[in-house]
């Protein structure tokens, strides 16, 4: 589902990723970990074309990223749900509207949007906050809104960048539970985190990113 072959990425003259090769299977739930600044976010950005590789080949859900034209990038992104490290919630829109945005870009009709958004808000236990603005929510709640937005369009791939950033263990467990559920429905999930507790004992594959490359691959 996600395939990197010898991918190298520079920012100006600084190398961030060097000869990264990895493959994540369809329906898998996997982790990427590594110290801060190792390039985890960059690796995810390469998947959704926010950054382009300098060398190597990336294939996502059958799309060859190299051959992707600017105008087809949106269609790739519609297959990829993203939980951004910096949330990217719109402060002038309610929780409902923030989540609905992911469907509006498909020009889905209002009734269907309402149904889907409410269903997903129930799932992340935020239906009672539907009309609240994001800045009035706790960090854990905001995180769940972002997850709701990423999953509402039922993407084939879900990428989560540091989804438990500064949450306590209970909240982290709630969020991990959500990812397991999304994954159980067939979505391939890739989680970038520096929190080893998140994958410890899950029995899932973990890629260790260090010194610009995949240092090792292990089972969590």
């Amino acid at each position: 589902m996600i395939e990197f072959s010898n991918v190298t990425k520079y920012y100006e003259d600084d190398i961030v990723l060097k000869d990264v090769t990895l493959a994540i299977d369809k329906g898998e739930l996997a982790f990427i970990t590594g110290p801060s600044g190792a390039g985890k976010s960059t690796l995810l950005k390469l998947i959704y074309c926010d950054e382009r590789p300098d060398k190597g080949r990336i294939v996502v859900a059958g799309w060859d990223i190299d051959k992707l034209k600017q105008s087809t990038i949106p269609y790739l992104r519609r297959n990829v749900g993203i939980v951004f490290q910096d949330f990217r919630l719109l402060v002038n829109r309610t929780v409902f509207e923030n989540v609905a945005l992911a469907l509006r870009i498909h020009y889905m009709n209002t009734a269907a949007i309402k149904e889907d958004v409410n269903a997903v808000l129930k799932e992340v236990k935020l239906i009672h906050k539907a009309n609240t603005y994001p800045q009035h929510l706790s960090g854990g709640e905001q995180q769940r809104v972002v997850i709701a937005r990423a999953m509402v369009s039922k993407p084939t791939v879900l990428l989560a960048d540091e989804p438990t950033g500064n949450l306590d263990i209970d909240n982290s467990q709630i969020i991990m539970g959500l990812f397991r559920e999304i994954n159980a429905r067939g979505t391939t999930v890739l989680i970038a985190t520096h929190n080893h507790g998140l994958f410890h004992g899950t029995g899932r594959r973990v890629f260790f990113l260090n010194e610009h490359t995949i240092e090792k691959e292990a089972i969590g």
Binding site: Y48, C49, D50, Q70, S71, I73, P74, Y75, L76, R77, R78, V80, I82, F84, R88, L90, L101, A102, R104, I105, Y107, N109, R149
Partner: protein
């Protein structure tokens, strides 16, 4: 279709949220368009006045004292075959004298002392009004002067060339001012839409990451520009209509001579102005949004 419905919803939200900037922009656009229309009307009217004057413009061909009737007929024939001349009027010696005495009125006595008619016979030629160019008229006059039996050709040379210059200047001026106003309107919508675009930069960035297409991002801005231009145009049409009806109803009552300067304003103008406003505003918005890169 859904694309448009969705975008229009977003336009109305934005129009309402930013109602003051939008109102200001709409008013500026309508002022610009009103000026443009007023100027076009002025030019058209001046042109029609000039054309009307030019219609009466003619060459007077004075004939030789001893011209034979054959020569006269030959001249008449040549004039009527010349496609640049639309009317040929013969004024005989006697008719000329009669006209002169009518003009003199009570002073006819001056003529009494003459025992012979001193006036030459002549042809009055009316030229096609589209052939107003002074250069052309001069050539024509010279050409006729060379003909057998012609004594002299007279026409209002100074008068003609100043009319011609005025008309030329007005046309060039109209094009310049028209362009200037169009650019101004483009710029007005450009800056307003640019402001909106920058204000929503974060939102647009997020939309792009969520998978929004260029059309999805761009269309609301273009439609907002379109709405602004259209409303501006409609306001401008209403203003022009009011001014026009007011002048035709009231002013003519007091100053009938104004009618001379008022060409009728075709109905199409009221439709064309909003369409032009919308088109120009869409161009402004398009430039403001610019290229969307992923």
């Amino acid at each position: 279709m859904k694309v448009f419905i969705y975008s229009f919803q977003s336009v109305f939200r934005s129009l309402w949220r930013e109602k003051w900037i939008n109102l200001l922009t709409i008013l500026s656009v309508s002022i610009g368009l009103s000026l443009l229309t007023a100027f076009i009307m002025l030019t058209l009217n001046m042109e029609s006045v000039i054309q009307r004057w030019a219609k009466n413009f003619g060459l007077v061909v004075y004939l030789n004292e001893n011209i034979s009737s054959d020569e006269e007929a030959a001249l008449k024939n040549r004039f009527s075959q010349d496609s640049d001349i639309i009317e040929t009027k013969y004024i005989s010696k006697d008719l000329a004298l009669k006209e002169l005495s009518t003009t003199l009125g009570a002073n006819t006595l001056i003529l009494e002392g003459l025992n012979e008619n001193p006036l030459p016979s002549s042809y009055e030629l009316t030229l096609k009004s589209s052939l107003l160019a002074p250069e052309f008229v001069r050539k024509k006059a010279l050409q006729i002067e060379q003909m057998k039996g012609v004594e002299e050709v007279l026409y209002g040379e100074k008068w003609l060339s100043s009319l011609y210059t005025i008309s030329k200047t007005m046309k060039v001026g109209a094009v310049f001012i028209g362009c200037a106003i169009f650019i101004a309107i483009t710029f007005i919508t450009y800056s307003t839409i640019k402001i909106f675009f920058y204000r929503r930069k974060d939102e647009i960035e997020t939309l792009k990451l969520l998978g929004a297409t260029r059309v999805f991002i761009r269309l609301p801005f273009l439609l907002e520009g379109l709405t602004i231009g259209l409303l501006g145009g409609i306001i401008s049409s209403l203003v022009i209509y009011s001014i026009y009806s007011f002048t035709s109803l009231k002013v003519i009552e007091f100053l009938p001579s104004v009618r001379l300067f008022m060409a009728s304003l075709p109905f199409e103008v009221y439709v064309i102005v909003p369409i032009a406003g919308a088109a120009v505003s869409v161009i402004g918005s398009y430039i403001a949004v610019g290229r969307i890169r992923y």
